[in-house]
Structures are given as structure tokens and as C-alpha cells.
Subunit: 246 residues, 2 copies
């Protein structure tokens, strides 16, 4: 489990946290006006204290906004759930739906190699589940038909908000079958990556990437792929399934 680089985005209301400054700090810092006469200094001090009160009011309203928005989203997530389930049933009737959609996505297609294409033919169902508190995370579930590569029926990758307001990810351990081509391929990748890292410790040289490597790595750069799955493919899969140049 490694921390992910991208922090939570959103308006100040949605990220509402109390950042009010204590009266003590205010008192101490207004001393820069010590050149001013006593009356002016007192006036400034009072203004700062009043300003602080306004700020607290605004911040507690921001917390309320955030809570109401969360409630709206939770409510609609409940309404949408059975429709997503129904959608998944229809998708499962279409051979290679997800493989086709992944390969039609301009960014996803870049990270899927030949062996992974073979594996993804067995991917029958995809699910994105937001946590009950939507802002705190989500998981992506990949369901597979029995296949020659691994024994798992479902592989889950979960993103949750860590202590420092950054998403951290965690994923199911893949239970490879003996002689799995995918395991071999992943090992080769990991060797290539560690070599590339040694070669260019400080440079930003792009490291080799692959779908299953993204899945197992929980590395710092793994969030962009999660976003392609969550915000593009899960949001409007048909768009990617039907159109080859999106």
C-alpha cells in the first residue's frame, strides 16, 4: 500500500475543514502595528477578532454545504445502483465488451500489452463502488471467467483517502496458476522498471507501464488509470465500446 500522488480536488466548500486562527495568534501577530498609537492598535485588534468570528461562521457554513452535497450524492448513488446492475447484465451479454472498450480508450489502450489482451478477454464484469462517505474513497472490481492465468474470480483495487488527504491504493493479491504467462510478463516488467529506475534516478523518464502492473503496483502514479476507468469507461462505456476514435 503506497500513497498516491494526486490529492483530492474540489471547491473550498467541498473540502471544508476548519482553518480558523486562534485569538491568541491574532493578538500576537498584530504587534506589527506597534508603531501605531494605542487607540489604532486596539481598533485593529478588535477588527481582527471580529473578522475571525465571520470566518468561523463562513467555515461552519462550508461544512454544512459539504454535508448536504454528500447527502445528495449518496441519495442518487442508491437510486443509480440498480440501474448500474441492470446495465452490467446487458454488458455481460456482449462478447469482449470491456476489452473492446478498454482498447478504444486512447490512454488505456497504451498500457495493455498482447498477453494482457488475452487475459482481458476473460473480464466479464466491471464495477465501480463509491464508499458510503463518497469523499473518502472508492473501489474498482474486475470479475473474470475461469482462465489459464490466475485463480481469482474477482480482482479489487481500492482507493481510500489517507491521513495526509492523499489517496492510497490497495489491491487483491493475484493467485497465479502454475506457469502463468501473465506472471512471467509481470516479473519481466518489474525487472525492466527497477533497471530503468537505477539508470535514471533523478530524471523523469517515463517508466514502462502495463495494465496488470498498474493493478499490482499501488504506485504513486496509479491514479490517472483509475480515473480513466472510473470517470470515462464506467461513466459512459457505450461511448468507448462503439466508437474507435474517441
Amino acid at each position: 500500500m503506497t500513497s498516491d500522488s494526486s490529492s483530492t480536488a474540489g471547491s473550498p466548500e467541498e473540502n471544508a475543514t476548519s482553518s480558523s486562527v486562534s485569538g491568541a495568534t491574532a493578538l500576537q501577530d498584530v504587534s506589527e502595528y506597534s508603531g501605531a498609537d494605542d487607540d489604532l492598535q486596539k481598533e485593529i485588534q478588535t477588527a481582527v477578532e471580529n473578522l475571525e468570528c465571520c470566518q468561523s461562521e463562513i467555515e461552519s457554513l462550508n461544512v454544512k454545504v459539504a454535508k448536504e452535497i454528500l447527502k445528495v450524492k449518496q441519495n442518487y448513488n442508491k437510486i443509480k445502483k440498480p440501474i448500474f446492475d441492470k446495465r452490467n447484465e446487458f454488458i455481460m451479454k456482449i462478447p469482449n465488451f470491456w476489452l473492446t472498450s478498454f482498447m478504444n480508450h486512447p490512454e488505456m489502450s497504451k498500457i495493455i500489452d498482447d498477453v494482457e489482451k488475452e487475459v482481458l478477454q476473460y473480464l466479464t464484469k466491471l464495477e465501480v463502488e463509491e464508499f458510503e462517505n463518497i469523499n473518502s474513497g472508492y473501489r474498482i472490481k474486475f470479475y473474470f471467467n475461469p482462465n489459464p492465468f490466475f485463480k481469482n474470480e474477482v480482482l479489487v483495487k481500492e482507493f481510500s483517502l489517507g491521513a495526509s488527504d492523499q489517496f492510497v491504493s490497495e489491491s487483491t493479491q493475484i493467485d497465479f496458476r502454475r506457469g502463468s504467462k501473465l506472471r512471467k510478463r509481470l516479473r519481466d516488467y518489474q525487472k525492466m522498471i527497477s533497471k530503468a529506475k537505477k539508470r535514471s534516478k533523478k530524471s523523469e523518464e517515463a517508466l514502462p507501464r502495463s495494465f496488470f502492473n498498474w493493478f499490482v503496483e499501488n504506485a504513486e502514479d496509479s491514479n490517472d488509470i483509475a480515473k480513466y476507468i472510473k470517470d470515462d469507461l464506467w461513466s459512459s462505456p457505450l461511448q468507448y465500446f462503439l466508437v474507435s476514435d474517441v
Copy 2:
């Protein structure tokens, strides 16, 4: 008025637009399964059509979510307005409040030169106003005391969502006083910038930036400064006023 580079951010619900695919396209594209027998092909066709219905249902729910969230934000903006007004009254009692806060902001301080520091001593009031439809834009109003640089009492910079889902900005024309040091400084900047642009047509070399140049330019990179003002300084000004290392 030039287009701004950053597009709107937000979850799929908040950016809800109908991207459903027409039945005609579906029919046409499923022909890749022409190798399959007639029954299977029909079944796939039906699945795609059903999937399309689910997708439309999900998208119309997304539109509803977006509308409800907008209503929550509008409602609270109304509640917050008088508190922001009161806060502004207190701020106006504190000499150089905004100049101090700007200079304590790590990014804003980088773009304020010596002449601009002099000008910003006359900045008494700052306001950020969201449009009635919050998602479509906002304006930043800078109120000035009478000063030797320009005649305007208020300078407004407005960001609104353009046709291609990108923010475009527009700003008040500055009515300079005769021999204004600020006008001279701005002209020098503009000469420097056009020279720098000629020198490095394709490179990403950072061009010289200044606060008033940002204000008048409405250029493509102008949104980050707007965000520092809107999301940092307007959201929690005291934090910047009181603490010099934020």
C-alpha cells in the same frame, strides 16, 4: 477577451451532459460481430439497445444530481453573502490588509513588483462574486482608494464559461492618470513579453509575470492567479494576513 486554458473540473455528475449514443450508431457498429450467427448478432443488438436505455437513465439522474448540488450551493451563497459583507467591513479597518495578505501568499508574492506594491496599498476591498449559475463563472472586484496611478474606483475581472467549456476572462479597462508609473511599468512588461515570445517561439520558457499584467492580459495562463485569489485569499484571508510562511 481570450480563452483560458483550464477547463472545468468536477465529477461526472457535476459536469453532466448527455453523451448517449444514438440507436443508429449502435446498429451500424455492432456489425463487427457479423461473423457471429444471426441469433447471436440479434441478441447482441438487443443488449446494446438495452444498455443504451440504462445509460440514458443514468445520465438524466446525473443531470438531476448536478441541479440539486447547484441549488445547495446557491442557497448557501445567499446565506453567506451578508457574512462576507460584514467581513469586508472589518477588513477595511485594518491598514494594508490585502497587500499584506497578498505578500504572504507564496505564489501571489512572486508576481507583485515594487510599483505594484505601492498601488496595492490603495486596495481597500476585495470581492469574489459567483454567478447566479455558479458553474458558469465568477468575477473578482478590486476596490481602490483615490490614488496617483488610475482613476477607476473598482477594477473587475470576470471569468465566464465559454462555448467550448473553457473559462474566458474579461477585465475593466484601466483609466490611467497622466504620467502613471504603473502604465509605464505595464508597457515595459509588454515589450519584454513580446520580445521573450519572439526569442523562444516554441519553448515553454516562463514569461515575466506581474499582478497588473495578469489583470489586463486575459491570457491563457491567467487562471492560476484567479484561483489563488478565489480559493486561498478570499476563502481564508486571515490565514494569509497573520502568518508569513503559509
